[in-house]
């Protein structure tokens, strides 16, 4: 295993105003603040840690059952259970900083108003953050969430309003549930976003054929994991072809090969989500795998493979 941050090839990436030591980022909601995962590997090795999406106030989330495994995938209807942005500011920020990891803070508002209130609250801690990810794509909440992607102009207005409050790179996280994400990405760009995260989960459901009941109390859930990889990859590829905005590609990445596939399809960086549940040291393994792949191909810099399939 290679030592901390000393990969022989250059894995560093830069997109918009965001520079990362390598392109592997943990996805929001699948890594908490990284504390648990630091028991399995040195999480400062990641390009960045994306936090769970924080709302203005603590959110309880949806009733149980909240998860159901499907063929090579899982449905979740967590409903953004989180401790509220004050918890991030007072507690979690310090925890992640102590672990030495770069931080992307994910935030979620049910309305433009709520997003703005969160932006005001985080102003004093911006210096500790790499970027803010704006979650416009949660499928499990009654208000806001992926509905923002249903009306792409929302994305432009909210992003630009946040931009006027805080000066930090912004990433818009988009939903695949309204067809191609292109229009949303265009609006994110117009609103001043530096990048987009593509994709959030794909809506789905499952039923119990004995009881006739839904497997999730919320009925609707978000599908993640390898089952959605081809769909996510196509979204990334099509968007990258349009050269609209840098893309953090995610959806079903389970191995370094999957990560490379997203990179050649045009992603500037990749997010790893569900795999963390199955393989808690996946982040470290995927970074090492990409590095070894580049060495075996005699490629000096990761940037030489980004978009190769376009």
């Amino acid at each position: 295993m290679t030592d901390k941050n000393t990969y022989e090839t250059d894995l560093s990436v830069k997109f918009g105003k965001i520079s990362l030591k390598n392109p592997v980022i943990s996805c929001s909601g699948t890594f908490a603040g990284g504390l648990q995962y630091s028991r399995f590997f040195d999480i400062s090795k990641l390009g960045a840690v994306t936090t769970k999406s924080f709302s203005l106030k603590k959110k309880d989330g949806n009733p149980s059952p909240r998860i159901w495994e499907t063929a090579s995938g899982m449905l979740n209807s967590i409903g953004l259970q989180n401790e509220g942005i004050d918890f991030f500011i007072s507690t979690q920020l310090e925890e992640i900083r102590n672990l030495g990891a770069e931080i992307i803070l994910s935030i979620f508002g049910e309305s433009a108003e709520e997003f703005k209130k969160i932006a005001l609250k985080i102003k004093p801690v911006l210096k500790h953050l790499k970027a803010i990810e704006l979650n416009y794509s949660c499928p499990n909440v009654k208000a806001g969430g992926m509905a923002f992607c249903g009306v792409p102009e929302n994305i432009r207005t909210i992003t630009s309003e946040i931009k006027s409050i805080i000066d930090i790179p912004l990433i818009a996280k988009l939903s695949p549930n309204f067809g191609p994400v292109t229009e949303c990405a265009i609006q994110a760009k117009k609103g001043g976003a530096d990048a987009v995260s593509v994709i959030n989960t794909v809506t789905g459901t499952a039923f119990d054929i004995d009881t006739y009941k839904p497997r999730l109390a919320n009925i609707v859930g978000g599908l993640s994991g390898p089952a959605i990889k081809p769909a996510a990859l196509l979204q990334v590829y099509q968007l990258a072809k349009g050269k609209i905005i840098p893309i953090i590609g995610m959806g079903g990445i389970y191995s370094w090969q999957d990560a490379v596939e997203f990179l050649i399809a045009g992603a500037a960086a990749v997010g790893i989500g569900t795999v963390n549940f199955s393989q808690p040291d996946a982040g470290e393994k995927i970074i090492a795998g990409i590095s070894e792949y580049l060495i075996s191909k005699n490629i000096n810099s990761i940037n030489d493979i980004i978009g190769k399939a376009l």
Binding site: A32, Q36, S64, R66, N76, G225
Partner: protein, 265 residues
């Protein structure tokens, strides 16, 4: 809590769809408390189905030989994979997980009540209680004789027990919660520890409402994705005064909860 690989020493059939998997792991044997569980990868390296790990309680710990075991029922894909594991192979698992069971110094008498595979974690708890000099009474209930061989393991731990089966094929015909309802007055100065199907736990909670002051621990089960407190998938409702509730994670806040505070929907 570590990501571990342990050599499989045996995978014995214990009854219809019931198996005991024995694994060599000094780390688990040194660090695991009764009631804790491990999250087992039920697929070969690189296989993506089943995707998520499966949680299993620790059933036995042999500190002398550094071997622990898991007693499991074959239910679906994951446990079917486990049933095919053979001696000499490796088991990929994370553990120990959850908050373990600790005996209460003030309490001398314990009544353990297990339904079905719920007897697995209770067996290790029973052993711990016996070793700390507690008086225990073990009540177990099964559908049929699938758990027939389990009695051999139990005898080594406890002499004071009663086994019920619904069809009377092994032990007495009946169900343990009915026995409990009729005899609860005998156990007023016992602490209860229960594990089993939700319906059973709910019944017992109902019975205990007539005995204010009784303390009961319940080992809860919920579907899990991460097992380490990250995904928020495994929550249950716990009473919070006044009249409210809060969600608690079975994997890291539990799996042991105060039975009287659990809200069954």
């Amino acid at each position: 809590m570590k990501l571990l690989n342990g050599e499989i020493l045996a995978n014995k059939k214990y009854g219809e769809n019931l198996y005991k998997l024995e694994v060599f792991s000094p780390y688990i044997c040194r660090n695991c408390l009764p009631g804790q569980f491990i999250n087992i990868k039920c697929a070969y390296e690189g296989m993506l189905d089943p995707l998520l790990r499966r949680p299993f309680s620790i059933y036995e710990i042999d500190k002398k030989f550094n071997v622990f075991s898991v007693l499991y029922m074959v239910k679906g894909k994951g446990t079917d994979f486990m049933a095919r594991l053979v001696k000499g192979g490796m088991l990929d698992f994370i553990g120990p997980l959850g908050i373990g069971f600790k005996a209460d110094e003030e309490i001398k008498n314990y009544l353990l009540l297990g339904g079905g595979i719920g007897i697995a974690p209770l067996s290790l708890i029973a052993k711990e209680l016996m070793e700390t000099g507690k008086n225990i009474f073990f009540l177990a209930g099964f559908k049929d004789e699938a758990f027939f061989l389990w009695e051999r393991d139990l005898i080594k731990i406890a002499r004071n027990y009663k086994i019920f089966t619904e069809n009377g094929s092994f032990g007495q015909k009946g169900i343990p919660s009915v026995y409990l309802k009729e005899n609860m007055h005998l156990y007023k100065n016992y602490k209860l520890v229960v594990c089993g199907p939700k319906e059973m736990l709910k019944n017992i909670q109902g019975i205990l409402r007539d005995f204010p002051g009784i303390v009961a621990d319940a080992l809860m089960e919920e579907r899990m994705a991460c097992g380490i407190g990250v995904c928020m998938g495994c929550i249950i409702k716990i009473k919070k005064s006044p009249g409210g509730f809060e969600y608690k994670k079975v994997c890291t806040d539990g799996p042991i909860f105060n039975l009287m505070e659990v809200i069954f929907d």
